[in-house]
């Protein structure tokens, strides 16, 4: 069976050819890899490839399909492309634009200012809310003109990273 995995702009086709205990034979975009592949802890792997030692650590992002991945030298975001992702991607391609924008914060913080209510019309670039964390304030702006269809937070509220804060509808 073949899988698709996305790393940065690359979508790799991966096939698992065989697995016997630690010995894993896979092909990535046609290139074969014989790996000595061992899980050594939660989300933590040791891989020997041609006797080179690689340590890979994965932290799941919202579910099981996306991971922050750390190696000795690099950090990546990797996504497994399954039927759902493909469907979404295909829908996205057939449309001219997105239906809506979901404003999220990449970090946890506290909403110190909220400038919109549900139903408000916003301009592109208009500041929608301000989040404060560790004594630094960050403004969040509307990417395009639209109408606020949902406001899920209030001033003074603590929010998680990637939590949906405000949704702006473009239609």
């Amino acid at each position: 069976m073949s899988y698709q995995v996305k790393l940065k702009d690359r979508i790799a086709h991966v096939e698992i050819l065989s697995r016997q205990k630690e010995q894993l034979l896979v092909s990535v975009d046609g290139k074969e890899y014989a790996l000595d592949f061992v899980k050594i802890g939660k989300g933590s792997y040791s891989i020997l490839y041609q006797n080179k030692s690689f340590n890979v650590e994965l932290i799941p992002i919202n579910g099981i399909k996306k991971y922050d991945v750390n190696t000795f030298k690099n950090s990546f975001e990797v996504e497994i492309i399954d039927a759902e992702s493909k469907y979404l991607a295909s829908r996205k391609q057939t449309q001219d634009s997105d239906d809506e924008a979901v404003i999220t914060s990449p970090i946890p913080g506290k909403v110190v200012k909220l400038f919109v209510e549900k139903g408000d019309t916003v301009e592109a670039g208009q500041t929608v809310l301000v989040i404060s964390a560790m004594k630094m304030e960050s403004e969040f702006k509307a990417p395009k003109a639209g109408v606020v269809s949902a406001v899920n937070v209030s001033e003074g509220q603590s929010v998680d990273s990637r939590q949906e804060l405000v949704i702006i509808d473009f239609h």
Binding site: I16, E57, M134
Partner: protein
């Protein structure tokens, strides 16, 4: 003799202070806000007292609550750490009034050094070089113009009560003087409620070099050499080292004497730091005094072989200094890297959150001071400094090589951090050559923001590993979780784009 110390702080410095107390057989009391019930300093201390809600104004800056905890616990001394109340003259006085030893200088020393104009005047009187400029605050625009004519452009207009770059204006040509002066005063008024400003010569390629001093209650003052702190981003230090790669032995000694003179001028007692600005010709000028322990004190501890917190406590006990200036030496080279919970790839946005995994570097020449543990939720209310890596080498080359090694071993997952950014600083030419000013970060932005290359093998292995983890999780997912996954999918049928800053 101090028997029980309340540490009026949090984070790595609170833990660090408790460590030295414990080694001295002194009982320790932690204080904590709502957000810090599970913080390491609470777990690590002998006792812990709650002092208020999460915002620091209501807890770590709340003098009444802290003094109440001190009384309840029977602490006979308070260590303020750095930040928070450490340079608050009122707090020092309130401790004295309450009969509790404040492990730090007198209110007089704090307030004299806390006001930039007063400090400047005091230093000039003591013969410590200051940046050429006005002696006191500016009374008129004419005086400003006269001063500028004397010292020559460029100059910096600074708020007397200032800090953090507020109320500061750089003036490069004559025409800008008046408008800059007005802007600085108005900004100072709204930021500090005080529009006093003064003018200083602007040093073009400055080094930030500071001296550690210790002063006892018997008039003995010594310096423990310098720390080079020029690697800064927005006035926040990132990497410090000692010895400074640019000082000559003669200049080192001169500046040390100036630092001692500065401390003596305010009858200083305790550990303190004299910050100097140094130009490319090694002219040095008093910048300010930090009347407390510094974040970067461990590199001095390492090369001089001293425990500064213990020295602070001995001094607070009234004991005379045992260290003699003539016996002190810098042994080898030490570097400190500050690990911040921030995202260098996203404009250094602070990154609170839950630490899921930590790999701490060990082995020869490596010290780590930190305040996080696996499962700890870094609160969003406080400073993003979460750990300090202090590395020693027999010389600067070995210290650099070892710092690189240690940074590569250091892994913190769950929260974004600047470990890779630190690694790139250590690799940057200017840093390796020891030839850098406070503009270093700005001047090397391109190099510092670059990611290490990952060849195809490395990428492919990452891809395979993520897939294997996914497949294993898919297999293990319970029916309930599968439903959740499906519902998730339904949510997605309306196309959304998720915007981040």
């Amino acid at each position: 003799m101090i028997k029980k110390v309340l540490v009026a702080n949090r984070g790595e410095i609170a833990v660090r202070i408790i460590r030295s107390c414990r080694e001295m057989g002194i009982q320790t009391v932690a204080v904590y806000s709502d957000a810090d019930r599970c913080a390491l300093h609470v777990l690590y201390a002998d006792e812990a007292f709650h002092i208020g809600p999460s915002p620091s104004t209501e807890s770590y800056l709340n003098i009444d609550n802290i003094l109440r905890a001190a009384r309840q616990s029977g602490a006979d001394a308070i260590h303020p750490g750095y930040g928070f109340l450490s340079e608050n003259a009122d707090f020092s006085a309130r401790c004295n009034d309450a009969g509790i030893i404040f492990i730090g200088p007198s209110p007089y020393a704090i307030s004299t050094m806390g006001d930039k104009i007063t400090a400047r005047k005091t230093m000039m009187a003591a013969g410590v070089p200051v940046v050429p400029g006005t002696e006191g605050e500016i009374d008129s625009e004419e005086e400003a113009l006269r001063t500028i004519e004397e010292i020559g452009l460029p100059v910096m207009i600074k708020a007397s009560a200032g800090g953090g770059g507020k109320g500061m204006r750089l003036v490069k040509n004559d025409k800008e003087v008046k408008s800059a002066l007005r802007a600085a005063r108005s900004e100072a008024r709204s930021a500090f409620g005080d529009d006093a400003v003064f003018i200083e010569k602007y040093i073009e390629s400055p080094h930030h070099i500071e001296y550690q001093i210790l002063a006892d209650a018997h008039g003995n003052v010594i310096h423990l050499f310098e720390r080079e702190c020029s690697v800064q981003r927005r006035h926040q230090k990132i990497i410090e080292e000692t010895p400074s790669p640019i000082l000559t032995p003669e200049r080192r000694e001169q500046m040390g004497e100036a630092a001692i003179a500065a401390a003596k001028a305010v009858d200083y007692r305790g550990a303190g730091t004299i910050e100097f600005i140094v130009d490319k010709d090694l002219n040095y000028y008093f910048l300010e005094m930090n009347t407390r322990l510094q974040v970067e004190h461990p590199i001095t501890e390492r090369v001089v072989g001293v425990d500064l917190v213990k020295e602070q406590i001995h001094i607070a006990n009234g004991e005379p200094l045992k260290l003699k200036q003539s016996e002190l030496k810098q042994q080898g080279h030490a570097i400190e890297c500050r690990v911040y919970a921030e995202d260098p790839d996203n404009n250094f946005m602070p990154a609170p959150g839950k630490v899921t995994h930590i790999d701490i570097p060990y082995g020869v020449g490596v010290r780590v001071d930190g305040s996080i543990y696996e499962g700890f939720e870094i609160p969003l209310y406080y400073d993003p400094l979460i750990a300090k890596l202090i590395v020693w080498g027999k010389d600067r080359t070995e210290a650099l090589e070892r710092t690189q090694r240690a940074l590569k071993e250091f892994k913190i997952t769950g929260v974004k951090n600047n470990l890779k950014f630190l690694e790139r600083i250590i690799q940057a030419d200017g840093f390796v050559q020891g030839d850098y000013t406070t503009h270093f970060i700005d001047e090397n932005k391109d190099f510092l923001m670059r990611n290490d290359p990952c060849d195809q093998n490395c990428e492919d292995i990452v891809i395979v590993t993520a897939l294997m983890e996914y497949l294993q999780k898919l297999e293990k997912a319970s029916p309930k979780e599968m439903t959740a996954l499906k519902n998730n999918w339904k949510d997605f049928t309306r196309v959304r784009s998720v915007f981040r800053l």
